[in-house]
Symmetry: C2
Subunit: 634 residues, 2 copies
C-alpha cells in the first residue's frame, strides 16, 4: 500500500489509510474525509453527494483524530451531530459489537475532517459494491466476437549456453518464428528475470508483433474497460481470452470536485496548467482506483492488466489525455484530435502492466465522444434496421444520434447533472432512502422509496416522476412556476418548494434545472430530425441508453416533455450501452475498426450553429397544457 | 537554467551553477568540483582525470565557498597548493585583469570542494571545445545519402469556423492528404498553441506517418548523433535536411565514476537497482549535456532536436536503456536484446523535442555493439573490396571484425583504459603537456610534448611510443620487467619505474597494464583469423578505427606486439568511424536498414568459448626478442 502523492497536492496535510481497500491517500486542508475519498476514487457511497442528508457514507476512524462538523445537515431539518446516526439501519454491515464495546464511533465521512494521519474503516454497506458475474444481461453478458489485440503464446525455450548465447529477445523471437521481434522497453527490462524465474517456460504477451510482456505464471489475461463519464466512471474487468466480464464497479468521477458540468471543467483547465494537470490526474486516479479495486475483487493485481480501452466524451477525453481545451471550450469548439489513440499506459501515467497500451476511443465531433461511439457500437442491432431510429444517451451531457437512410447524424446538448439527481437540492444517487417513483393519489404525491426506508432525497428517475406528478397534481403551471396555496407547496426563504417528505424539498430552482435540461434535449432532438427532413412521429425506434435512461419512467418523461409523445413500444431502454461498447473495443480488433468507421461516418451537428435552436429551446422550456382539463386547483 | 535533480542523489549537498554553460548541477558530499562536473557531463577539461597533475581544469568560484585540497598532486613531485598555478600558461584565456584585481583566485576544480552553493566560472581554455564545421574529412564531411526519418512539410491551413470546426489533427491530415494521421501525444498537446501562434501557417514534422511536432518558426531540423563509448561520449549536431554536421563535442562518459571498464560497471549495476539507475542516469546526463552544449553553440535549444541516434557497445547500450545486466556480465554473457530499438526520447528521459524518437543502433553480439556496427557502416568502402580485411576499433573494449569471403566475423576483447591513457599512473588525455611521441636518441628517451610545454603526463599514443622506446632502449626485458641499473629507471616504494620527465613516471604496473591489453587484442586477432583459416600475413587491409587508433604510431604498435608486423601500407587509420556511422544512422533510413542487416549478418565469436585463447594470450603477453641483437645493456 503505497502512498499516492500527486503533482499539485503540496497542500496535502494528512494521510488517510483505508486498509480494507489497500489504499492510502492524501487529505487536503479543509476537505472532509468524504471529499478526500471521492477525489481519489475511494469507493465510499455518498448518495447525497456529501450534503450530510443520506447517511450512506459511514466510516469509523480506527486511528488518528478527526473533527466532526456541527450542523452537518445543510439540506433540511434532519441535523444529527457526529457519531452514530440514530436513523442508520442497524445490522446493515455495521457490527453492533463495536458499538456496544464503546469503541470509536461510526460517523459520516462527509462531516469528518482529519486532524492527523488517520486509518479509516468504511462500513461494508457504505462501500460501493464491486459487481461480480453477469452484467447488462439485456445486451449480452459476454463480449462477442473475441479477437483481442493482445495474444498470449505459451513458450518453452532452451536455456542459453556458451555455444548458443543468443539474446533473450532473439530466443523468444525464434520460438515465435519472428526473428526480428519488436520489444517494448518496459517488457525488455522485465524479460531476463521473468525468463529465468520461469525456467525458460513462459507466456509471452504479444500485441501487433510487439512483445509487451512475459509472465512465468499461468492465469487469465486481463483487460480493463472504462466508461469515463462526466459524473460517473464505470470500470469493467474482462478476461481477454473469453470476453467474460469478471467484475464491474462504478464510482464518481473525481473531477466533479472541479465542477459538475463539462463547461466548468473546461474553464478550470483553460485557466491554468496546474488546474489542467489536477483534472488530468483526477481522471487518472479514477481509472487507477477502478483498476485497483476490480483486480483486488478477483484476486489479481493492477499490473496483471495487459490491455485497456477508454471511452469518454470529447471534453473528458481531452482532460484525460492532457490535451489543451481552451479552443474546445469556446466557439468554434475545436478538438485537438478525433481519431482513436493507442498510447502506452505508462505514458498516460496509468500503473497497469508496464507494457500495456490504452486504446482511447475515437470521437465523433464537438462534445460527442467515444462514449457515444461505444453506445452506438453496442446498440447496432437496434438501430441498423432500416427504419428511422434515434439513439439517445441521457447524462450530464446528452448525446443524440438519428439514423436514417444510412446516415447517422449526431449532436450533443448540455443537459446538466439535474436529471441524474445532481445539482438538485434534494437530489441523490439511487440508494437506500432515495425516492425513485412519485405518483399522484387522491391529489397528493405518493412516494416509492428504495429499500422501503424513510425518504432522504430523490434520485434521477424520481426527479422526472416528481416533476410529472407535481404537474399532474397542479402544483406547477405551464411556465414551470410552483403554484401557491397547494397543501404540499411551502415557502423557504421567500422561494416556493414542494415538500415531498419531511426534509425533502423540491424547489423552484430544481424545477428550473429540469426545465433547462429537457428543453435542450428536446430542441436538439427536433433539430436533428429537421436536418433529415423528419418529424418526431417519424421515429420508429427510440433507443434510450445510459444508466439514468435505464430507470426513467417513459410516461413521466413524455409527460414533462423530455421525450416526444410516441407510442410506448417504440422506446427501448438499454442501460449502459457505452459500458458494453467499450468492453467490445477492449476485446475485439474488429470492434475497434468498426468504431473508428462509425466515428468517421457520423455527421456531427453543432447545435449552436443551427438556426432555430434558441427558438425551439424556448418552445420546450415550458410544459404543454394538461390534457383533458385535468389541471387541478388547490 | 533549471536545477538538475536526479533520482539517487538525495545525498546532494550543494548546488553548482555554471552560468557560462547555462547549467546548474548538484554536488555530492565529498566530491570535488571536478568530479561533480564530470558526473553531470559539464565539459571541463581534465586531461589527467582529476589527479591534480595537469592543471587543465582551472575554475574560479565567483560566489560561494570552497575548500582547497592540500597535497593535491598525488602523482609525483609537482605539488602546488590551491590558487594560481605557477606553471599555468598565461594569457591562454584566463583574464590577467582578474588576477591583478586580487579577485577570487583561479583554482583547480579537481582540488576544490564546495562548502556552499557556488557559482563557478570555467577558464575558457579549460572548457572542452565545441568543434564547428568540417570534421573527419577523411571519411567525408557530410552524411550521404540523406533520407532522414523525420520529414518537414510546410503547411498553410484554413482557420476553423463554426461551419468547419474539424479538429486540429484532421486539419493537418487533410493538408497532408492523410485523413487518419497518427499523432504523438506530446505533439498533440503542443498542437493547438503552435497552430494558433503560427496563424495556421506551420511546419509539420512527420516520422513514418506520425506527426511528431509542429513548429511555427522556420529553422533547420536538427538531429543528434551520439557515440557513447565506455570512456568518452561524442556528440554531433546534424542538420537533417542536408546531412551537414553543425557542431561536435566530446566529453568523458560520466559513468567512469562508477568504474573505468565495462565489467566494473556491470558489476555495480548488478549489485543494486539504485546503482543501475545511477549508471543509466549518468549516461543520460552525458547525452543531455552534449545536446545542450551543442545546441547552445549553434544558437538552438535542445528541444529543437527532432531525431536522435545512439551507438554504444552492448554494455553501455544496456545501461543506457535500463536493461538488466547481471546475465550479460557473466557466462554465457546473454544480452536482453540485440535489434535496433526506436524509443521515444521522453521515455528514455531525454529532454529533446517532446515528440522525437531515439534510434538505438543494433548490436552484433556479446559486447560487440552498435558502435562497431556504426564503424563498419562508415568504413564499408574500405572492407567491402574482396580482400581479407580486418577492422579494429581500439578502446577500453576493443572490437575486431574480419571480413573474408563475404563473411564478417566479429569479436571483442577487454583491453582496458590503459591504451587511452587511463589507469596508467602518468596517463592523461591528449592535451597540452601530454607526451605524445617518444623516440630513442643516443640510448635515451626523447619526448614530443603537445603544445611544446613541460611534460605532465602521457597520452594514449605516447603510452605505446614510450613502451616501444623503453623496449628499444633495453629498459624492458622480454617478459616485460623493467631492467634495473638503467639511468632512467628508478625505484619508488620498492617498485621500479621509468622517469620520463620530472614527475612523470612510467611504472612497472603501467607496463603490465599495456601488456595485458596488447596480449588480449593480439590473441583475439589471431583467433578470429584462425576461425576463417587465415594467418596474420593474409590480412590485406587493416583498418584502425577510433580516436586512439587515429593517433597511434603503427611502428610502435608493431614493435610492442599490439599489431602484427604487416607492411605499413596495409594499415589505414580512419579516426572515429563510429561517430561517422552514427551520423549516417541519424540522417538516413537506408543506413539504418543497412546497419540492421550488418548487425544480423556478422558472426559473433565469444573469445572465452574458443579453445586456445588462454594459450595465445600467454604467447603475446611478453615481447618478441629484439631483432638484430639490439638489446642494449646499461
Amino acid at each position: 500500500m503505497k502512498r499516492e502523492a500527486l503533482v499539485g497536492e503540496d497542500e496535502a496535510v494528512h494521510e488517510l489509510a483505508f486498509p480494507q481497500l489497500d489504499r492510502r491517500i492524501e487529505a487536503l486542508a479543509g476537505e472532509t474525509v468524504f471529499q478526500s475519498a471521492r477525489r481519489h476514487g475511494v469507493r465510499i457511497v455518498g448518495a447525497c453527494g456529501g450534503r450530510g442528508t443520506c447517511g450512506s457514507c459511514m466510516v469509523r476512524v480506527v486511528e488518528g483524530d478527526v473533527r466532526i462538523d456541527a450542523g452537518q445537515d445543510r439540506a433540511g431539518g434532519q441535523a444529527s451531530g457526529g457519531g452514530i446516526d440514530p436513523r442508520e439501519p442497524l445490522g446493515a454491515g455495521v457490527p453492533p459489537a463495536v458499538r456496544e464495546a464503546g469503541a470509536r464511533k461510526w460517523i459520516r465521512a462527509c462531516c469528518a475532517h482529519a486532524l492527523s494521519d488517520c486509518t479509516v474503516e468504511v462500513a461494508p454497506r457504505s462501500l460501493a459494491p464491486v459487481v461480480r458475474a453477469g452484467l447488462e444481461a439485456e445486451l449480452g453478458e459476454d463480449v462477442q466476437p473475441i479477437d483481442p489485440m493482445v495474444l498470449v503464446r505459451e513458450l518453452q525455450l532452451a536455456a542459453p549456453t556458451l555455444m548458443d548465447n543468443a539474446c533473450d529477445a532473439e530466443r523468444i523471437g525464434r520460438a515465435l518464428g519472428e526473428p526480428a521481434l519488436r520489444l517494448d522497453l518496459a517488457a525488455a527490462r522485465e524479460l531476463p528475470a521473468a525468463l529465468r524465474a520461469g525456467r525458460w517456460s513462459v507466456r509471452a504477451r504479444l500485441r501487433e508483433g510487439e512483445l509487451i510482456g512475459v509472465a512465468c505464471a499461468a492465469g487469465p489475461t486481463l483487460g480493463l474497460a472504462i466508461d469515463l463519464g462526466t459524473t460517473n466512471a464505470a470500470g469493467f474487468l474482462v478476461e481477454l481470452e473469453t470476453g467474460r466480464t469478471l467484475a464491474a464497479l462504478g464510482i464518481e468521477n473525481p473531477q466533479v470536485a472541479w465542477g459538475a458540468d463539462l463547461v466548468s471543467r473546461l474553464d478550470a483547465a483553460s485557466r491554468s496548467a496546474a488546474l489542467a494537470a489536477q483534472l488530468r490526474e483526477a481522471a487518472l486516479r479514477a481509472i487507477q482506483a477502478l483498476a485497483h479495486d476490480l483486480c483486488r475483487a478477483v484476486g489479481a493485481r493492477s499490473t496483471d492488466i495487459m490491455d485497456a480501452a477508454v471511452c469518454a466524451n470529447t471534453a473528458m477525453h481531452h482532460l484525460l489525455l492532457g490535451l489543451p481545451v481552451a479552443q474546445l471550450g469556446r466557439a468554434p469548439f475545436v478538438a485537438v484530435l478525433r481519431e482513436a489513440l493507442d498510447v502506452k499506459a505508462r505514458e498516460l501515467g496509468l500503473a497497469i502492466s508496464p507494457g500495456a497500451y490504452v486504446h482511447v476511443a475515437a470521437n465523433i465531433g464537438g462534445f460527442v465522444g467515444g462514449d457515444h461511439v461505444s453506445a452506438l457500437l453496442a446498440t447496432e442491432q437496434r438501430w441498423n434496421t432500416g427504419v428511422p431510429t434515434l439513439v439517445m444517451d441521457i447524462g450530464t451531457n446528452t448525446e443524440i444520434s438519428l439514423v436514417h437512410e444510412g446516415v447517422i447524424r449526431s449532436t450533443s446538448c448540455p443537459s446538466g447533472p439535474a436529471l441524474e439527481g445532481g445539482h438538485v437540492s434534494c437530489g441523490m444517487r439511487a440508494a437506500e432512502g432515495a425516492i425513485e417513483r412519485v405518483r399522484v393519489r387522491e391529489g397528493r404525491l405518493a412516494l416509492e422509496v428504495i429499500g422501503g426506508k424513510e425518504p432522504v432525497g430523490v434520485c434521477g428517475s424520481g426527479v422526472l416522476d416528481a416533476l410529472a406528478a407535481m404537474r399532474e397534481a397542479g402544483m406547477i403551471d405551464d411556465r414551470g412556476r410552483l403554484a401557491g396555496g397547494h397543501a404540499q407547496v411551502c415557502e423557504q426563504a421567500g422561494r416556493r418548494a414542494v415538500r415531498l417528505a419531511p426534509g425533502v424539498l423540491f424547489t423552484q430552482d430544481d424545477v428550473r434545472a429540469v426545465q433547462l435540461a429537457k428543453a435542450a434535449i428536446r430542441a436538439g432532438t427536433e433539430l436533428l430530425l429537421a436536418q433529415a427532413g423528419l418529424r418526431e412521429n417519424d421515429i420508429e425506434r427510440f433507443v434510450i441508453a445510459g444508466a439514468f435512461g435505464a430507470y426513467l419512467d417513459v410516461g413521466s418523461a413524455i409527460a414533462i416533455g423530455l421525450l416526444p409523445a410516441l407510442a410506448r413500444e417504440r422506446f427501448q431502454q438499454v442501460g449502459n450501452a457505452a459500458g458494453v461498447g467499450v468492453r467490445r473495443l477492449l476485446a475485439s480488433r474488429s470492434a475497434r475498426a468498426q468504431a473508428n468507421a462509425l466515428a468517421r461516418g457520423c455527421r456531427h451537428l453543432e447545435l449552436s450553429t443551427l438556426e432555430g435552436f434558441q427558438k425551439l429551446f424556448m418552445k420546450h422550456i415550458g410544459f404543454a397544457p394538461m390534457p383533458r382539463g385535468e389541471v387541478s386547483t388547490p
